[in-house]
Amino acid sequence: MSAQTLVSQLKHGLDAPICLTWELTYACNLACVHCLSSSGQRDDRELSTAEAKRVLDELKALQVFYINIGGGEPMIRRDFFELLEYSIGNDIGVKFSTNGAFIDQAKAERLAAMDYLDIQISLDGLDAVTNDAVRGEGSYALARRAMDNLAAANFGPFKISIVVTRHNADQLDGFKALADSYGAQLRVTRLRPSGRGVDTWPELHPTNLQQHQIYRWLLANGDNVLTGDSFFHLNALGESLPGLNMCGAGRVVCLIDPVGDVYACPFVIHDQFKAGSVRDPGGFATVWKESALFEELREPESAGACTSCGSYDACQGGCMAAKFFTGLPLDGPDPECAQGHAEQALLAIDRAVVPAPSLDHSKPTPVRLGRKPVPVR
């Protein structure tokens, strides 16, 4: 079976996701300007420990190999370690994303003693000025301290996770060197206009010139760098990047949010992409297998305005979430179409009618992008 046939089969969906993202809480100690889930304050309806364990029981029965835990800041949950141990004890590997604020020496040692656990420390700048403009004052120091603690505890190769922006796109070599210095693995993912990113994406997303740079850098370094398969829109530029290079939303991945709602992917927390809840009578499995939304996402997609473009097979029209939250039609070019096919459409969008995320858990204090650290070319 060729790779192409496999991808077309995967597009019809699987009986269970290969992996899924589970955001444990909307509470967060930080207030990043691009937060995909507009996190800040805990939601009263968040899943209890018992409910969360029931979901893990279901995922075990479905043979989901691993889950990506996020938030919010997942370590804020009092039962964080209990859920971690329950998951790993049930053959569900865990990779969790954290800002690192709660990884002191003792926690680092506890984490290092666990098997089948990956940790991703988020960092969005190679220096405090670049990072803190996006993630908040002091966040760079917290992340580096967590990395130092994990290294001292001999955790092994943790991951350093970068969201590529206009301000850090020129620092990729530096991030790689930083990861190498810790024996860590670098992970770079695409900035989406989701959550609070709806407001900050226009000034934070990489320029077209930078996108070409990112593509060339990934081609040269991609085998040793994780990307969450998030840059497949750049395949329009030529040779394919490593990965499945398809949108997995509702087909091979999905999101469970802190209150148990199931969305097609972590970047589309909006009612239009909500498939159901793990609290529904049939639980997660029924949502995954029977929701009308997921069935629709598993149908062949229409190339729409991209039909006449020779690159469509390579880029697949890009990211559904990126189109949705910039107000573009879903069957047309990605807002960061490498061929520039979305530029006119983006200019014509009335910002007032761009869909807003359905939920906002931001703290009452306004979240603003900090001082711009790097002159934009």
Partner: protein, 122 residues
């Protein structure tokens, strides 16, 4: 790696690998190196999961009813699965208790340093 022909080897699924049946074959996930492998043919899945019950790959192919004309393609598929650490050579050629594919060794933290092939879906 041994000089022995692959057909003569006593093989088994790596104990850190879980296999999940899928319409196209199966998904294999290696908990140690975090690699996800797509096994794209149901017959190969049947052979791979039966390896531990037989003394050699050849014996497994016979037991699974694979005609000899198809052996070269199966041998190629099994070699490829050995390269991705889904299948490994068995320490003892004698058949032990049937290994369950979901069993995992717990004393192998060292494996976590293997990272080159890790694939991320999300």
């Amino acid at each position: 790696m041994t000089e022995q022909p692959t057909l003569d080897l006593a093989l088994e699924l790596d104990p850190q690998v879980a296999v999940r049946p899928e319409p196209f074959g199966a998904l294999a996930y290696h908990y140690g190196n975090r690699r996800l492998v797509f096994m794209k043919h149901p017959d190969v899945v049947a052979v791979a999961t039966a390896l531990s019950e037989h003394d050699s790959l050849a014996a497994t192919l016979t037991a699974c009813g694979v005609t000899e004309a198809r052996w070269p393609s199966f041998e190629k598929a099994i070699v490829s699965l050995m390269e991705s650490h889904v299948i490994r050579q068995r320490a003892q050629p004698r058949v032990q208790a049937t290994a369950r594919s979901s069993d995992r060794a717990s004393d192998d933290r060292g494996d976590r340093s293997v990272s080159g092939g890790e694939q991320e879906i999300q």
